[in-house]
Subunit: 271 residues, 2 copies
């Protein structure tokens, strides 16, 4: 595909897989006994679920965590489309991705805040950004409420035509009015297998600064990370590659760019 996705040798593949397998959340020793912290730091996206239903009250508690998430000026700029297996099937004509037990499509929703703020000078990008931000806060709150109940989940932007990359399709299927847009589907269920290794995470120094000035990235660290990403992808999907997968995304991303521009800004693409 292109230069930054590295070609793997057997040596670099094994070295990268070893690094992935060895990585652990870094918990300060004095805090290791904190069960909630451990649950948060050990959360993983699940892609295999047990064939076991989710009790109604567990799912209600998850939605309640979405409802009570923080939001800018408490505007609650979100809507949750929630599904059982049968209602997903009848809406989309297929199963919930990864055969999960329940699903929530998290939508950014500008309609209610527009009502409150309708005399302000139009600032579509600011309000769109706040809606994306708030809906994402709600998504993470739901995900961690699920973890509290032993329920795993995965956030999907693309798989099964279920997220931002399928904005136009979901707008049509869910009859979304102007100003309402899909961010992701969260698929929920009990986990079917033991915890997988963490996807390769950049070291804290690379993604943070403490001296008030942004630092450019360290290319050697980024290269190492990208090699781990490539190797990890190959280990999970031996007959594909990260580069090939990115290529698959490409056409969907192009279409989503057009659809989002229409849905949010009523315009045809960006110059």
């Amino acid at each position: 595909m292109h230069a930054p996705v590295p070609k793997l040798t057997l040596g670099s593949f094994l070295r990268s897989i070893w690094k992935i397998m060895a990585a652990r959340p870094q918990v300060p020793p004095a805090l290791e006994g904190n069960a909630m912290l451990r649950t948060i730091l050990q959360r993983r996206s699940a892609r295999r679920f047990a064939d076991r239903p989710l009790p109604e009250d567990a799912f209600a508690a998850i939605l309640e965590a979405g409802r009570l998430a923080p939001s800018t000026v408490n505007l609650q700029t979100w809507t949750f489309a929630h599904f059982t297996r049968p209602s997903w099937q009848s809406t989309f004509g297929r199963s919930i991705p990864f055969k999960a037990a329940r699903a929530v499509i998290v939508l950014g929703d500008l309609i209610r805040s527009r009502e409150l703020l309708d005399t302000l000078t139009p600032s579509p990008l600011v309000f769109y950004t706040l809606a994306v931000m708030n809906a994402s806060l709600a998504a993470m709150n739901m995900t961690l409420a699920a973890e509290a109940l032993g329920v795993s989940s995965v956030m999907l932007s693309e798989t099964g035509r279920s997220g931002l990359l399928d904005a136009g399709y979901l707008r049509q299927t869910l009859c979304l009015p102007e100003g309402v847009f899909p961010l992701m589907t969260i698929a929920f269920g009990y986990p079917a297998r033991a915890e997988q290794p963490m996807p390769p995470k950049l070291p804290l120094e690379e993604i943070s600064f403490s001296d008030g000035k942004y630092h450019p990235a360290n290319p050697a660290v980024l290269d190492d990370w990208l090699e781990q990403m490539t190797a990890g992808y190959k280990a999970s999907f031996p007959f594909s590659s990260l580069a090939a997968q990115l290529k698959v995304y490409e056409s969907k991303i192009e279409q989503a760019e057009k659809d989002l521009n229409k849905m949010i800004f009523s315009r045809d693409g960006i110059a």
Copy 2:
């Protein structure tokens, strides 16, 4: 200001305050004993902090929750600018908002994902949206890791020139390169007072649907909510009003709209 922000009578004020005081998280009885769920549902944004430092390892665990948050294709499109009281003072020439003990400015960061995806057709709105989404997931993960340690927090978009509405100012102060933008400051500290009432939340029926089709809002429920918002604001800030506060935001929002368009899309405003 404008029609939707209602004028309060003494009766409507008292009725609204009573509703706010009476609202509680709705926890299914069987799950009331779940400590982590309770912590998530009872989280409140804090605006008063104890004058007590945050131990280094607690703050390290909070940042670790940011680092390990989920993100689209594991791209980790975020950077965290973190501060002590002295480093905030020397960067901004004033105290951390609400005199909190520590602060993290959560930045969306498109630079690393661009490196990986630089041969894809440019789709700035999609990648911007994903960066906002992922950085917000990290923000919520940090906030809940803090709660696990008894540390309260508040996410700020505006107060103290610390968030999205100050995008241009923060870009300059933190020397942010193109493609890096501030979303919010999270101010962290031990809480100084007992839990406050919840801000008025819309009922689940109003912000969700389960039949696969988006429903328009119920105007009566929205009016009731807006009356509670107005009353709650008046109760917290007797010498101001929600309408007046929204007016204050207006000029900042207009400026932020221009700055963000330049920072993200290299263009001057939206037609």
